[in-house]
């Protein structure tokens, strides 16, 4: 149960990424700003999807066009070729501009890439995400991404001289914009009044207190009954309880053993080996009962240091 950081430091670091939103019912909901890493990942996924789709469509159109060239005319494009060219250029424009808008306007507020990395776009003022906001945030993608990338390729070649370097520097301001504000908004987010949040989707885990030693207080293997006294339970707080909960839910034998040893050492017990799970379950059940009783009376114990 020991780590390099104090529990209060871990809480603080989490809080830095969290914003509280109060619903009209008066319940405060913690929203977590999506990390820049997951946003970059989402962008790369979206770009891969877009490139593969548009290039495949282009190849299909070329293939179709090649088929129509049998009835070739003397000068200029044949009518069918011209039509395919129109389809191609409109497809290209609408795919690269419409992809992000279309998906973000959907009920999940996220492109496929964002969905895969578990993030979504939301309105910063807590209102609804309007189509105007989505259009605004996506129109700026050009100068945030494509322009810097083009200049990044152009400037070092020296063709455009000092102007190229100046342009590169200027456009890097946009590209690096998310690194210089605490909500990691990009320029488009600022303009549109949006931000990108973590959209966790969790399954409800089983209750721990309906089975095993949490419920009965005794081990199913040895039949031994674990009862802890007040002083033994008072060494730990909520943070340690929730760490223990995680260990129990993961159920890795090495972790169970290590944690059981630490607890035994701390409370001066000698429980022996082989029955760690039952020991921990009993300890968890009784510690949680004690802390929750304290909570109902208004005494909370955040961690073992408090």
């Amino acid at each position: 149960m020991s780590s390099a950081y104090l529990p209060s430091q871990i809480r603080e670091r989490k809080a830095r990424k969290q914003r509280l939103m109060v619903t009209p019912e008066g319940v405060s909901l913690p929203l977590t700003i999506a990390s820049r890493g997951s946003r970059a990942g989402a962008l790369m996924l979206d770009f891969t999807i877009l490139s593969v789709t548009t290039i495949t469509l282009t190849l299909i159109l070329i293939w179709i066009a090649a088929g129509t060239f049998v009835e070739q005319e003397v000068n200029g494009l044949p009518g069918s070729g011209e039509f395919l060219f129109v389809v191609w250029s409109l497809m290209w424009f609408f795919a690269w501009n419409g992809y992000f808008m279309l998906f973000e306007m959907g009920p999940r507020g996220a492109t496929p890439g964002k969905r895969l990395t578990g993030i979504r776009v939301a309105s910063r003022d807590g209102g609804r995400l309007t189509p105007e906001a989505i259009v605004a945030r996506n129109l700026l993608r050009d100068i945030e991404l494509f322009l810097p990338l083009v200049l990044l390729l152009l400037a070092p070649s020296g063709e455009s001289g000092a102007a190229g370097w100046a342009g590169l520097l200027w456009s890097l301001v946009f590209m690096l914009f998310p690194f210089f504000n605490k909500d990691s908004m990009r320029a488009g987010d600022l303009i549109a009044g949006t931000w990108v949040l973590d959209a966790p989707k969790q399954k409800l885990a089983a209750t721990l207190s309906t089975e095993g030693a949490v419920a009965h207080g005794s081990s199913a293997i040895t039949g031994a009954e674990y009862r802890f006294g007040d002083e033994e339970l008072s060494v730990y707080g909520e943070y340690e309880l929730q760490t223990l909960e995680r260990v129990l839910r993961d159920g890795r034998p090495e972790a169970l053993q290590a944690v059981a040893e630490t607890i035994c050492y701390k409370i001066g017990w000698n429980a022996g080996a082989g029955d760690e799970r039952a020991f921990l379950e009993a300890f968890y059940g009784q510690l949680r009962a004690r802390l929750e009783t304290g909570m109902r009376f208004g005494n909370r114990k955040a961690d073992k240091f408090s």
């Binding site: 909901l29 501009n97 105007e132 259009v135 303009i191 009044g193 969790q202 309906t210 059940g285």
Partner: protein, 353 residues
């Protein structure tokens, strides 16, 4: 033993959850087990909503959504004060957050939104940025005059102003016949639709750029406008030097009134954001940026629609119609846009106040 009944097949999760409540040793877990079935039902509804399967949702479920959401929110509030089960707490937090997005984020259909947009919202957004439109118009006129004056003083300017794709045969010193040739009426429509598509993607790209550059307090947008209009001014001088000004203006106005108007709006929209960020008034900069950005985005959707019109006009009537017909179409389009943007949608605005 119970006799099998139809109710066995209906999904009522409470049935299998019921015995567990007694088994739970902790009060907070009993609390959770009593409410679990409602949370699961809410989760089920949310999953279907998020997948966009609104039609498959029964009326009962739709009606139950707000109630279930409120129940989950109050469960969360209670659980925060009584339970230390972090799995339950984080599940509830994510559930309430997902529900909140669905309950308080009612979505308009695209068609409903488009009807409102074309039926007044676009016009109102454009009326609201009138000051920026005036500034952009001034800058564009100034850019044209600058281009004209520069080239009339020193013809070398023509080559540095006008991009090479326009300076094919249309160069200073070209004879009247050569210039007239470039304005001539095409005899067939072949190749025109490809031309239109390319024009559209190119112009839309430029106007999106003009808009996006407005973010840097509007100055790059203005520079882009000045440069583009200086090209126009230079070509105007070239044609008028051979007494072809009227033909050139007619040739240009077919699509030009629409296209230049669209570029004007794009530049103005970009500048609007820049101006609001520089002078936010009594709002915070971030709030001002968000508000003006959403307004400008509406204008930009209008700009893209206008550019579709412009490309169609440029490809067909411009190349196929004669001088008078060209001028008439151009003027008609200009009147149409001005009426639509500035006369339409006014009553509603006043009614709202």
């Amino acid at each position: 033993m119970k006799a099998p009944t139809l109710s066995m097949f209906s999904r009522k999760p409470e049935i299998d959850a019921a015995p567990d409540i007694e088994a739970a040793a902790l009060r907070s877990d009993k609390f959770r087990l009593q409410r679990e079935s409602e949370w699961k039902r809410l989760e089920d509804i949310l999953t279907r909503l998020e997948k966009g399967r609104l039609r498959k949702l029964s009326d009962e479920d739709v009606l139950a959504l707000p109630t279930l959401y409120r129940m989950a929110a109050s469960s969360l509030a209670v659980a925060r004060e009584t339970s230390l089960d972090s799995a339950t707490l984080s599940y509830l937090e994510s559930l309430v957050q997902r529900a909140w997005f669905q309950v308080y984020g009612p979505r308009q259909g695209l068609i409903a939104w488009l009807r409102k947009f074309l039926g007044g919202n676009l016009s109102r957004a454009i009326q609201e940025i009138w000051l920026d439109i005036c500034i952009a118009l001034f800058v564009m006129v100034a850019g044209t005059i600058t281009g004209w004056l520069l080239v009339s003083r020193d013809q070398e300017w023509y080559y540095s102003l006008v991009p090479t794709q326009f300076a094919d045969s249309r160069v200073p010193g070209a004879s009247r016949e050569v210039l007239l040739e470039s304005l001539k009426v095409e005899d067939s429509a072949s190749g025109m639709s490809a031309f239109a598509a390319q024009l559209f993607t190119n112009n839309a790209g430029v106007s999106i750029l003009a808009f996006a550059l407005g973010f840097a307090f509007g100055i790059p947008s203005l520079m882009l406008l000045v440069h583009n209009m200086a090209v126009l001014g230079a070509m105007l001088w070239l044609f008028s030097s051979q007494d072809l000004a009227w033909e050139f203006v007619a040739w240009l106005s077919v699509h030009g009134t629409t296209e230049l108007f669209a570029i004007l709006l794009a530049g103005a929209a970009g500048m609007h954001i820049g101006r609001k960020m520089a002078f936010p008034g009594h709002q915070s900069i971030v709030a001002a940026a968000a508000e003006s950005g959403q307004r400008a985005a509406q204008v930009m959707i209008g700009v893209v629609l206008m550019l579709v019109f412009a490309a169609l006009l440029e490809a067909f009537p411009r190349q196929l119609a004669g001088t008078e017909a060209r001028a008439i179409i151009g003027v008609f389009m200009l009147i149409f846009w001005i009426t639509y943007f500035f006369a339409f949608g006014r009553e509603k605005k006043e009614a709202e106040i």
